[in-house]
Every structure is written in C-alpha cells, then in structure tokens.
C-alpha cells in the first residue's frame, strides 16, 4: 500500500453559495495520464515545465472537423493556420491529414515550403507581405489573399515584371452582427471597397480571381455570424458571376471557431457555451447551400481552422514551487509555469488540474508564475485542492498560440513532446539552451573585457 499523502490542515469560511447536495467541491478529476502516458513520468523524463501534444487528439479533431463539413457540403478543404502552432511536427500531422497551409508572413511561408507543402497549396494572408515575399509567392504559384490596395498595386507590378499570372483572392470584412467588427483587414463589403478592388482585379490581365476570403473574428461564440458572412460572400460571388461571367473557385471562411477554453469574464465555462464544430459547419454550409449557387456549381469551401483543432491537443505540465499566504488571507501557489510560456493565460481562465489524486477539500487560490514580475499570474482565482511543493499540475487546452506566442523572458523555453498514436513520446522541440541565445548575440570588441 502506498504511503498516505499528507495534506496540510485547512480552515475554511462557510460559503453561502447555492446549496448543493454534494457541497461545494471541484467537479474535475486529477489528470494523471495524457494518452495513457503518466504525467509524472513525462515530467521526470523531460523536465518541468513541459508542453505535451497528443497526436491522437489532433488527428481525431481534424477528422471530425472534416466529417462535420464534408457530410454537409460537397467540396471542402482545410488549410492549417500556421500562426496557431507552426511546430513542424504539428504542421505535418495536419498536412498528412490533407490540410493545405495558411500563412501570414514570409517566415511562415518559408516554413510551409520547408515542410514540403507545394506553393500552390499555400494561401498567403495578412497585411504584411514584403515585395520579396510576394515575388516568392508569385513564382511558386501560391494564392495571395489581398489585404489592401497597396498590396494590389505591388502584386500587379511584381507579377508584371515577372511576366507571370497570379492567382488572387481578396479578404473581405463585413458586419456580421458581432462586436467588435473586424474591419482592419481586407476590404469592406458594405461600403463598396470590395467591389472596387474586384473590378480592378477582373480588369487586370495578369491576375485571376480564384476566391473570396473572410475572417470575421477570433474565438467566435456565435455560429450565426458565420452564416451571415457566408451569405455575404456568396452574394459577392454571384455578383461577380453576373457582372463578369467569372466563377470563383472557392470561398474561404477563415477561422476563429472557439475552442473549449473559458474566456476571462465569461459567466459559464467554455465547455458549456462554445459551439461545437458541427454548429459552425451547419451555419456555414446551410448559408452557402441556400444561397443562389446552382446545386452542382457550389464553390470549394476552405476553412482555416486553427485553434479549434489544436487547442485541446496541447497540455502544459508544471510543478508547484511554493505555497504562500497573501496579506489578505488568500492562499497563493507559485508554479514553474509563467505567462512567458503560457501567453493565453492573459485571456483564458485555463482549466488546471493536479496530476495526482486529491481529497475533496479545496481552497480558493491565486496561481502565480515563477517570473519576478507582478503581471505573472496564471489564474487569479481558482479552486484547487491542497498542493505541496513538487506536486505536478496539468494545464489544459494550451495547444493553440502558446507555442508560437511564447517568449524567452527571464527563463528559457521548455521542451515540447508529442505522444504519437501508439503512445510513444517524441521530443518535437528541444528546450532552449544558453548557447542558443549566445549564438545570435554579438558583443562589440570594446565591450568584451571588463573588470569588476
């Protein structure tokens, strides 16, 4: 028999919540294993903190997403949103599942090429495309989603110089009834900007309009907004068909589907209020099907889903560094996970569970990171069991954006491990070493020597 775990004594004020026959207790169970691999074993082997990705979950997510759309619409294509997680292993899992690449910078573009994605299957989005980027994209026959008129002129000139036809789409922004309205990217639908640039493209010999793109927002909680957007893009496509007798090949609905995370300030947890991929699929496809497209001339539907596919495939394992009582009496716990590697803690209340069994007693806790900075707060209010130094915790739904937006600040960034379908673990990114930084830093000669 294992030795009984020690838990420190706890004195707790009587809560005056709604009565519940089980009392107030945490609803979740300890997360001792990720895909049947023990969390403690992972931490022992690869260190703490540690990002862990489940290939099984990732594949199952993309397959279910494809199924959700393909059973509702005849032609569907997913394009992996690189910015969400451009770790090569993650990208390649999605490419193996048939996804194209959606990139928003020259760096991401090169990464996609390096992963072996053909130029023609890279969708190039974003407001920042340098002349060199455009040249590369045009040469590789990628599809450029034009964001602003200056870009339109740049493409026209570069393609003209290269004497090469270029496939373009425009990004359209519109009022879909949600706040805030994203109107900083692309051309506005309502005020006629979209038609303005479409007219120019259609009159250009060197550009072929192949698609229409929109991206109405991020972490959208309303599928209906997508239905409105799809309807407006369909209207635009049919307008182009009527005016120029030109059929666009695809409609790209972008991304922005919510994952199961809980936004800060949300009344209910994300698992309860986030629409499922099926809800989004239903909204988008029914809007397109009920538009004025002929039934056998429906354009290809492209989805740039990122977060909804990878978020719940990512876990972050951390360790308790210390417990402390704050001046106002609240309990605080310091983890080795800081906001530098868990960037999303700025806008989510991440689900955090201990990695070992616990009793039913919980205490309201503030979770701090290890940084010597006041802003380093992982959760400012969480009901956790009583943890001891060295205990492991698992932070859930961290697959999206953290592994791209993390920063090297105060500490070095940890390893990323992938658990494959068979349950084998692979390091897919090494932890940073001092040398990695020294490699890129340069010290001028006159600063080399000093004496203290």
């Amino acid at each position: 028999m294992d030795k009984q775990r020690y838990e420190r004594p706890l004195i707790k004020k009587l809560e005056s919540n709604m009565p519940n026959k089980f009392g107030t207790r945490t609803e979740y169970l300890p997360k001792t294993h990720i895909d049947d691999v023990a969390v403690t074993e992972l931490a022992d082997k690869y260190g703490s903190p540690l990002f862990v990705l489940s290939e099984k979950t990732l594949r199952s997510n993309i397959r279910n997403a494809k199924k959700a759309f393909e059973t509702r619409y005849p032609k569907v294509q997913f394009a992996w949103s690189y910015k969400t997680n451009y770790n090569d292993a993650v990208c390649r899992v999605l490419h193996q599942e048939g996804s194209w690449a959606e990139v928003v910078s020259g760096f991401e573009y090169d990464k996609a090429l390096n992963n072996g994605v053909e130029g023609s299957k890279i969708l190039f989005n974003g407001p920042d495309k340098t002349d060199d980027d455009l040249k590369k994209a045009i040469t590789n026959e990628s599809i450029i989603h034009i964001d602003h008129l200056d870009e339109f002129y740049a493409i026209k000139e570069i393609a003209g110089n290269l004497n090469k036809d270029v496939n373009v789409a425009i990004r359209v922004n519109m009022d879909t009834g949600v706040y805030p309205m994203w109107d900083r990217f692309g051309f506005n639908f309502e005020n006629g900007q979209a038609w303005d640039v479409l007219n120019r493209i259609m009159r250009s010999d060197i550009m072929t309009l192949v698609g229409l793109h929109t991206h109405i927002g991020t972490f959208m909680l309303s599928p209906n907004a997508y239905a409105v957007a799809a309807g407006k893009l369909a209207e635009l496509a049919i307008g182009i068909k009527e005016k120029f007798d030109h059929e666009v090949s695809y409609i790209d609905m972008g991304g922005g589907f919510a994952s199961n995370n809980t936004l800060k300030g949300a009344y209910l947890p994300g698992t309860d209020i986030s629409p499922s991929i099926n809800d989004f699929a239903e909204a988008i496809t029914s809007a397109l099907i009920s538009s004025n497209f002929e039934h056998d001339k429906l354009p290809l539907l492209i989805l740039e889903t990122g977060r909804a596919l990878v978020d719940d495939a990512g876990y972050l394992i951390g360790s308790v560094l210390s417990n402390k009582r704050l001046s106002d009496g609240r309990r605080s716990t310091i983890l080795d996970v800081g906001v530098n590697i868990l960037f999303t803690s700025f806008w989510y209340d991440h689900k955090i569970t201990p990695a070992q069994p616990f009793t039913q007693y919980t205490e309201d806790t503030v979770l701090y990171g290890p940084l010597c900075m006041n802003i380093d707060i992982i959760r400012d209010h969480i009901s956790l069991p009583l943890l001891n130094k060295g205990d492991k915790v698992v932070i859930h739904n961290v697959g999206a954006y953290n592994m791209t937006q993390w920063m090297q600040f105060i500490t070095l960034r940890p390893k990323i491990v992938l658990i494959d379908i068979e349950g084998n673990t692979h390091i897919i990114r090494e932890d940073e070493k001092l040398q990695n930084l020294l490699d890129v830093e340069k010290v001028p000669d006159h600063l080399k020597d000093f004496e203290l």
Binding site: T71, R72, S120, I143, G211
Partner: protein
C-alpha cells in the same frame, strides 16, 4: 447512290471478298482470297460462283439495299454457294449462265425475305437461302433439257491442268496421296466440301486460311468434327456417310458458329457444342432419308436447323445467362469475342445504365446492407441503411439520448441520379431515441423516378425537411431533404433502396451504385458497380476539375503531339463519333482507333484497333481507366482485353486454348502520383503501368506518366525497358 465511281468500285470489291469470307463467318480479306483460289480449282464452278456473287451484289445495289450489309457480303454468300453448287453439277453454256443469273437473283430475294422474317427474332439466316436456291434449281432443271449434268467430277485432273498446268496436277496428286490418318483425311475433305470441292489439297489450303482467320474457329472445327466422328463410331452409324458425301462439313460449320461466332468461346460453349453434335448427326441422318425421296441432298440443312434452334432457345433463358454468353456485338472474330467479352464483362458487364451515386455527401457507414439481419429481408432485401460515425466508432456525441446528438441527423440527403419526384411523405414526427413508429413504417420518405421500373426511395427523413414536391424534376446531387428519425427508426439513419414501383415501400430491386470510394483506415479503394456491404465506409468520388477537363474529349476536337523521337513531324489525333454515338480517338496518319467511354466521373478506354507501336496505343494503355478524381496513393487496377497483347506469337498460342484457360496476363494499374493542382488548374501527375506477362512472369512492362493540366493532357511519357518516349502537346 454513291458519290463517285471509286466508291462503287470499293463497295463491289469489298462485297465480293466478304461474300466469300462470310461462308466461314469471316470478314478476313486474306482468307477470302484463299477461298476464291480454292473455288477456282474447278474453273467453271469458280467462274459460276464469282458470277453469282457479282449478280447478287449488283442487284442488291440496284435495288438500293443497305450499303453496309452489301459490303459485309451478307447478301452475296448464299448466291455464291448456289453458284458453286450448280457450277459443279452442270456443264457451263449459255443456258447455264441464264439460269445462274435468275437463280442468283432468286437467292438474293430469299435472303432478304429471311432477313426480314427471322431477323426480327434476332436470328441469323445462315445458309437457308442457299438451300432453297439450290433445291429449287435442281428440281426445276430436271425438266430443262438444255442443262447437262457435268462430268468433270470424274475428270477433275483435266481441270487442274487447265488451272495450273502439270505442276498443279503434281501438287494435287502429292497431297491426295499424303499418308494422313483416315479421320484427318475426311476432315480436310469435308472442309473443302463446304466449297463443293472434295480434295485434300483444297482442304489443307482452307485449313491454313481458317487458322489465319481464327485459331479458335479452326480448333472448334476440329473438335466438332471429331466429336461427330466418334459419335458415329459409338452409335454404330455409317461412317461412310461422312466419308462418301463429305456431309461432315455440317459439324464443322456448327462448331464454328456455336464455338465462337455466335457464342462467346468458353468452356461452356465448347461443352454445349459437343452436346449438340449428336443432334446434328441425328438430324442429318433423318433429313437425308427424307430428302432422298426427292432425290435431293440435305447439304447444310442440319447445321442450319440446329444452330438456329439453339440460338432461339437461348433467348428464352431467365437465369444462368452468364454461363453461355451470346455475342451481342458482332466483331466477326471468335478471338475478339473471347477477349473483349471477357474484359467487357469484368469492366462494364453490370454497369448500370443510369449513373447512380450515393445519396449523401461525405463519408457514411453502411449499417445494414442487402439481406440485412434486421429489416432488409424478403421483398425489401435490396436496401441499405447509412449512418455517420466518428473516429472512435461512435455515431453520436454527448449522451446519445436525443436525435441532435447523432452525427447523421439533419445531414443533407441528395438525389442519387436525375429524376422526377414521385410519392412523398412528410410531416411525421422524428421519434425519440429508442422509440419506433410502426404505424408509419417508412417515416418521411421521397421516391424518385429515374427510369421505367427504376425508382429510388429515401426514408426516415427529418420532419418537414423535404425540399422537393411531387412531380418536381431533380438533378443528381441536389438536396431533397435531411436525414431524420421518423418511421420505424429507433435512432437517426438513412434508409435507401432501389425499387421497381412508385409507391413508398415497393419491392426492392438489385441495382448497384455506379462508382464509389470505400475507405479502410487510410487506404482508399475505388469500386465500380458496387453493392456496398455492411460496415463499409463509403463516399462519393470527389471529382477533380483538371482531370475532368483533360479527359473530356469532345468529338470534332483535334489534339496534336510532338515526340522527342521525331522533331520534324507531329502526331495529330481527331476525336470522332460513329452513328451509334461511340466515341473514339483516331490517329490521322495511321488510322489507329481507340474507343473510349466517359461516364462523368470515370474515363475508360474500351477498345483499340491498330498498330502496337503508335503513340495512340501508348495512350490507350496508359489511360485505360482513370477515375477523374484525386486520391493520393489510391491504386486503380484493371485488365486489358488480350487482343492488344503485343507479342503476337504468344497470343496465337493463347488463341487456341482461350476457351479453357487464360495464361496471358495484361494488367493495368494507375496511381495518383502528384497533385500540384490547388485552385486554378495546375498540374496533376498520374503514373500508370502495364504488365504483359505469362502467368506470373513479366514479358514486357510499360511505365507511363500522364501530366494533365489547365489545357488538357499536356505530356505523355512512355517507358518500355530502356526506351523512353516523351510526347508533348502542341497548341
């Protein structure tokens, strides 16, 4: 009637040659020339035969009968036989030729009448017109004093001398004295008797011609003849009947007709041919006695009776139709019948006339198939149930206690083919999970009429989800409603069946889907003519526009290629179609033809005629079957009809035994290699390979790369052994 005299001349010469060859069911011109030579072994008979053919065919032309039929020799060969027959019997002279003219015209008229009378039953008239013609003239001539019976039969050496001098006589005598076993001698003589000759030399010459025309026909003729020979021995019949009058040709003709010409050569056709031989023998013996009363020979009457009887009987079959296959499209060659039929039956044999697709989008799982264990039984055994499952094998998410939890619930249901909406039922409630509505068994349903006696029914649809109304025309792939849980459905699923009547719940019929993709983990398989089985994960082929456009060969178009072998000239292909709407690619310079069939989502080559070293042949081999879609790593396989086998010596060996065993292989496989196509018609690379071999040994192997792009087939690379030809499209 004809555009110019050149046309007339070619019609006449073709009609003459074919009239000879038709005697052996052939249109082989070389064989025809052999036949003409043999008829001229008896100079006067030869002249009479040729005159009769010319008279009959010219009359047919003057009457304005069908050109094609005349050219095929169908109107000439009976007159030829009559001419040869009376040419042997009577001394030539003015009176003889006068009679010949009229009897030839009479034979032609009998031919045409029989074509009308028994042709409408789809039966051949064979040599019945000849029988009538020759009997009429024999009986009639008994009263014509001017016609003299020929005595040449006795002094045949004189004829030989007249035709070929002393050398000919010597050759003839040498052959006659060859020390062949008796049955073989009788065989050769019987063969020659078809042309009213009775010598070994003629027989051997004919046999060589026959082998040249068709190995199967020759083999069958031997088989049929010896079957009869031994039947005579067993039954104790008078072998001299065979020997003396050489009436044994009846067995030879019967064997050729049933062994490969009217019936596809197979083990079964041989068996039946052997079974029918005694019937010919019995008919022969009995009719001989009967006709002897009138002093007439039965000639080929027994052959005619038995072949026509058997072909007629076959038309009444309702089952086991595949054991004996009657040739439906006459290709005038038993070899072609054997090879193309074998290949055709495998490839298109059960291809439904109407293109039927799965009635939904994306991948669904068959949860109950034909003859299912739950409800697909008896009258309703040919039906399918479909549901959607997730990666983990569950058909719902959440608790599964409400219909909305089920993946298939509220998913679009589309029309499997073009049609008109028939009976519909709407407005029935969707059951709660676990409940069934036994009062309204089928729930909300739509019946669509696709053709006569061909309806499809889609059932258990969602309440008030129907987008169509009765009488509405629907297109393939158009949404007709949404999957639901009405009727006898404990949890949401789609019930689909083909039926023969318009009422909901009619008796189901066994009708397959034209093509679909089935998936096993990450392996996709392309199935044509498919009746998906239980637990199959099926989806419709997602078409690929670039390939669709590249393989859309429209009659009237022209395609031009240049090869790296020959820079000076280009190869031009024309797309054409015949009056039956068969489409083919024809090479302008060589005249090689490759017939193709594009059924919308699959491109097939169906037949090839021409040389085996042209670019068109390479294209035929490389694109034998191309689903117009793209599934990385999906392998498509097929087998070629053996008549395109490049090693002709091996093929001749195969010809002899094809009814019993197929030892040559001609396998095709296609792989989707690379898809640079994203949005705007970039390139798709297909790799195919063709393996010609004997059993497991490869004799020659071809590797092809086809590159399709925005403007069609752009490049074709053909590699065989160490040689490589690259053909590039010119625009």
């Amino acid at each position: 009637m004809f555009k110019n005299s050149g046309d007339t001349l070619s019609v006449i010469s073709k009609s003459i040659l074919n009239s000879y060859a038709q005697v052996f069911f052939s249109k082989n011109q070389v064989f025809a020339i052999v036949l003409i030579i043999v008829t001229f072994f008896d100079l006067y008979a030869g002249v009479a035969g040729l005159s009769a053919v010319i008279i009959a065919n010219t009359t047919a032309i003057i009457l304005g009968l069908n050109n094609k039929t005349i050219m095929n020799g169908a109107y000439g060969f009976n007159a030829l036989l009559v001419g040869l027959g009376i040419g042997i019997y009577y001394q030539p002279g003015f009176e003889f030729y006068l009679i010949l003219i009229f009897i030839s015209i009479l034979t032609l008229m009998i031919t045409i009448s029989l074509e009308g009378i028994i042709g409408k039953y789809g039966l051949p008239y064979l040599s019945i017109p000849f029988l009538f013609g020759i009997w009429i003239v024999i009986i009639a001539s008994r009263g014509y004093s001017a016609l003299e019976i020929s005595e040449r039969g006795i002094y045949y050496l004189n004829d030989m001398f007249a035709v070929g001098g002393m050398g000919m006589v010597k050759i003839y005598e040498w052959f006659n004295n060859l020390n062949f076993p008796e049955p073989l001698r009788v065989y050769f003589k019987s063969l020659s008797a078809i042309l009213f000759q009775y010598h070994m030399f003629a027989g051997i010459l004919l046999a060589i011609g026959l082998i040249y025309y068709s190995r199967i026909a020759f083999f069958m003729s031997l088989l049929g003849f010896f079957a009869a020979y031994y039947f005579y021995m067993v039954i104790g019949a008078d072998i001299s009947e065979l020997n003396y009058s050489y009436i044994g040709f009846n067995y030879i003709l019967t064997a050729i007709a049933l062994g490969g010409y009217f019936i596809v050569p197979s083990r079964n056709s041989v068996l039946w041919m052997l079974l029918l031989t005694p019937l010919v023998a019995i008919t022969l013996s009995s009719t001989s006695v009967l006709f002897a009363q009138f002093g007439l020979s039965v000639f080929s009457l027994p052959f005619n009776i038995i072949v026509i009887l058997f072909l007629y009987v076959l038309k009444f079959r309702e089952s086991k139709v595949n054991t004996i296959i009657v040739v439906s499209k006459q290709l005038d060659s038993p070899e072609l019948h054997a090879y193309t039929n074998y290949s055709y039956m495998n490839r298109f044999g059960k291809l439904p006339f109407y293109s039927m697709k799965l009635p939904f989008w994306g991948e669904w799982k068959v949860t109950q198939a034909h003859n299912g264990e739950i409800t697909h039984q008896d009258k309703w055994k040919h039906a399918w149930d479909f549901e959607i499952f997730n990666e983990n094998g569950s058909s719902y998410e959440g608790s599964g206690n409400k219909v909305e939890d089920y993946y298939c619930f509220d998913k679009p249901v589309v029309s499997p083919a073009d049609g008109v909406v028939g009976e519909i039922e709407s407005g029935l409630d969707d059951n709660e999970i676990g409940n069934v509505d036994l009062q309204n068994n089928w729930g909300n349903s739509v019946v669509i009429k696709h053709g006569e006696k061909l309806y499809s029914q889609l059932s258990h649809l969602k309440k008030d989800s129907l987008l169509v109304s009765q009488g509405q025309v629907v297109k393939q792939g158009e949404i007709i409603g949404y999957c639901g849980n009405s009727g006898r459905s404990p949890y949401p699923h789609l019930h689909f069946q083909f039926q023969s009547d318009q009422a909901i719940g009619s008796k189901t019929i066994d009708y397959p889907f034209s093509s679909l993709i089935s998936r096993d983990n990450n392996d996709f398989k392309f199935d044509t003519i498919s009746n998906p089985v239980k637990n199959a994960l099926v989806s419709n082929l997602v078409s690929e526009d670039t390939l669709k456009k590249a393989f859309n060969f429209v009659p009237g178009n022209e395609i031009e290629f240049k090869t790296d072998q020959d820079n000076s000239s280009t190869i031009i292909w024309n797309i054409e179609s015949d009056i039956y709407n068969n489409t083919y690619i024809i090479c302008r310079s060589t005249g090689d033809k490759a017939w193709f069939n594009n059924i919308g989502d699959v491109f097939y080559f169906t037949y090839y005629q021409g040389s085996t070293n042209s670019l068109l042949y390479m294209f035929y081999l490389s694109a034998f079957k191309v689903p117009l879609s793209y599934y990385k790593n999906m392998i498509i396989t097929d087998s070629f009809p053996l008549n395109v086998y490049p090693n002709k010596a091996l093929l001749v060996l195969q010809d002899f035994i094809i009814p019993f065993h197929k030892f040559l292989v001609a396998d095709y496989s296609l792989e989707y290699y690379k898809n640079d196509n994203a949005i705007n018609n970039k390139k798709i690379t297909l790799k195919s390979s063709v393996n010609f071999g004997i059993a497991n040994r490869t004799i020659s192997k071809f590797d092809f790369t086809i590159i399709a792009g925005k403007s069609g087939i752009e490049k074709l690379e053909c590699g065989q052994n160490n040689t490589q030809i690259v053909a590039t499209r010119i625009y």
